[in-house]
Amino acid sequence: MTARIGVVTFPGSLDDRDTQRAIRVAGAEPVALWHKDKDLKQVDAVVLCGGFSYGDYLRAGAIARFSPVMEPLLEQAKAGLPVLGICNGFQILTEAHLLPGTMLRNDHLHFICRDQKLRVENAETSWTTDYSAGQEIHIPLKNNDGQYVADAYTLDKLEAEGRVAFRYLDFNPNGSQRDIAGVSNEAGNVVGLMPHPEHAVEPLIGTGRTDGLPFFTSILKKLVNV
């Protein structure tokens, strides 16, 4: 049986269809979840996709964090359900305290959209096993509130525990502390990052490379092997 991966659509989500497509390209079955759903339809993993949930009023991701769908998601993520948060999804995961730190407005105050070089720092999370540690990849980045911040104690802890999953290379696009582009939780099942792997799974679109595809094949392999 093929793995079923849920993609949550909040009002204001933009990348739900691209994310569903990436999941399909990787060989899994995308399952559309709605922000008002009170259960997760027995999916094997969930992706919180990019966009501007609830208009990002208040703070990016702050209102989405209290959606009905987040209740079962929080509970099951803590019990080991793999969850990937991309961009706005990452912001939602920090607001929900599933991931540490938070996101501020980009230090230069501009929306930014570019092909971004990253280094994969941790290839052992549920979403990164098809990469190798130290691998350099290019995937698109587009955000307004992408400046990752946390206190020094949290940052040191993340570094010591190998939970800085991705780092910006060559150019820090938003002033993120220690060039952090993505982090994972302690167990490695919850991962968040600002750049968009779902936009780089087919050579015809995005960067022209398919450097984002291993996110979705990693989770597929993990779920099939479980």
Binding site: A62, L104, L109
Partner: protein, 87 residues
């Protein structure tokens, strides 16, 4: 009915790029002598019924869990007298 005001400000140690952008614009507008600007948010909550200790405790929870992100922001709560229908 009473009004409770929740002010949310970035913690002092957190860089405030919006405030800095405002501050940088001041000399251009002819305002000199302002060395720092920090931008915050003000929420005005119209509360039905009395603003007693229990109500304030609930608003404290609301501010802590939702209105402010305590990773980066501090908040203060105060009760404001609402003037009766001034026209």
């Amino acid at each position: 009915m009473a009004r409770v005001v929740v002010d949310v400000m970035l913690k002092p140690e957190i860089l405030d790029p919006q405030g800095q952008a405002v501050q940088r614009a001041l000399p251009r507008l002819g305002f000199d002598g302002i060395s720092d600007v920090r931008q915050g948010k003000r929420f005005e909550l119209e509360v039905d019924g009395p603003v007693d200790e229990a109500a304030l405790a609930r608003i404290h929870d609301l501010a802590e869990s939702f209105l402010a992100n305590t990773v980066i922001e501090d908040f203060t709560i105060r009760v404001e007298e609402v003037a009766e229908a001034v026209k």
